[in-house]
Amino acid sequence: MNKRVYLDYSATTPVKKEVLDAMYPYFDEKFGNASSIYSYGREAKQAIDLGRQNVARLIGAQADEIYFTAGGSEADNWAIKGIAYANKEKGNHIITTKIEHHAVLHVCEYLEKNGFEVTYLDVDEDGLIDLEDLKKAITDQTILISIMFANNEIGTIQPIEEIGKIAKENKIYFHTDAVQALGNVEIDVKKLNIDLMSVSAHKIYGPKGIGALYIKKGVKIHSFIHGGAQEKRRRAGTENTSGIIGFGKACELALENMDNHIEKLIKLREKLINGIIEKIDYVRINGHREKRLPGNANIVFEFIEGESLLLSLDLVGIAGSSGSACTSGSLDPSHVLMAIGLPHEIAHGSLRLTIGDFTTEEDIDYVLEQLPKIVERLRQMSPLYENVKGGQK
């Protein structure tokens, strides 16, 4: 295999050179424990403060509202369990959607087994929730609304500002999983009335194993990892200094490049989607056509199954994904594609190609050259396609 085209930026991104350069000194040279008072510790502390400011700036928060975690999943777990247990005297009802990431869904399911009630809102065929549904779902027991900013599979962006307004009017905490949105959409937590927000570094060219939870000042939440006094006593564990400085640098770059980044990604995405529609029959584009992440293309190729498509692409050096990365070991079709109403057999044939900062026009050309051949070959093998050609469809 010679050419390698990576189109799975929503699964994870390479660490950018500038980010790595910022991180390196903190492994061996400036390795001190940030909680220590001596000079080794102070170096680390300063790096962490800087990282915190950079993350805060990208989302319009204050630095002391950023709490570092091990990633998006921990942030989601913390936000939801932390709010649930800290506010259970007020109520036991949580509202979320059917298309959340598993880091939200599985936490909600866990809470359901432990005395909480959860409403999972439906979405329409584009993946959007209905604001009226949300309003109707609210009861006097509702303590938390957790709705993702942008979906990791189909890219659809929710009406976050309106949701924030509804939450605020009803005095309910609003958490959003912005792991996919960060760096790809302008986010101002104050303007959007967001109380808690999960983010993760490795989706925006930062390192893996570091993320953050934004917690608005005054929000009543339990700690999730108890122990040492780090993160203002709210999240224990020796600070991952290099991770934090790297995350901060990635946020700084994202803020600087935001407009260019979005413009470039949309252009390549449209080229990809339009090329596919033009060259291949029986395809469907999933997710909202405009309200979507700039780099996300999610396409169903009828009559073929996603894994064999991915494998075939891999053999010609193209990396994509089918369903979300963390569930691709599973046999079930994606809960997101089910929720937007795709029949099972069609949901099995979905391909997610996500574009990032290192994607080129040539990469897209290469995909548009390879993909039609692969789809055709797999369809020729498929007993379902046979029926179509025979007019039985």
Partner: protein, 144 residues
């Protein structure tokens, strides 16, 4: 994730296609679960003279179908009935645990085609007495 043998059969599947006026055709699995296998047989003097398949499914489903057709081509019906999913897995030099069901599907597809052959020719085949072509042998444990 996959053995070289699986990748070989996935990239160069043997015996893909259809047989017109096949002596036996079997189809198992369903699109809902993400895999369908269809096997066509040409039988002469109790020998499987030709076999073709079509599969909608993952890489290991395609490889399982491909190697299964190789395993029965030229064999007697009696021997073909004896091909188990275990033999398919072994021939592929292993499958990941969550993909074992693909080999089960391949075994069932062969049986299903032979069953069809037996029905059409009104004969009884030893080893197929209990075979029910309409049973869903796929995802037994999962109970969707």
């Amino acid at each position: 994730m996959y053995t070289e043998k699986v990748m070989d059969h996935f990239t160069n599947p043997r015996n893909v296609g259809e047989i017109e006026n096949a002596d036996g055709v079997g189809q198992v699995g369903n699109a809902k679960c993400g895999d369908i296998m269809k096997i066509y047989l040409k039988v002469e003097n109790d020998i499987i003279e030709d076999v073709k398949f079509k599969t909608f499914g993952c890489g290991s489903a395609i490889a399982s179908s491909s190697i299964a057709t190789e395993m029965i081509k030229g064999k007697s019906i009696k021997d073909a009935i004896k091909v188990t999913n275990k033999a398919v897995v072994e021939a592929l030099e292993g499958l990941p645990p969550q993909k074992i069901h693909c080999s089960v599907l391949a075994e069932q597809a062969i049986k299903s085609a032979l069953y069809d052959y037996a029905q059409k020719h009104n004969i009884q085949l030893e080893g197929l007495e209990d075979f029910d072509p309409n049973e869903d042998h796929h995802h037994d444990e999962e109970a969707e």
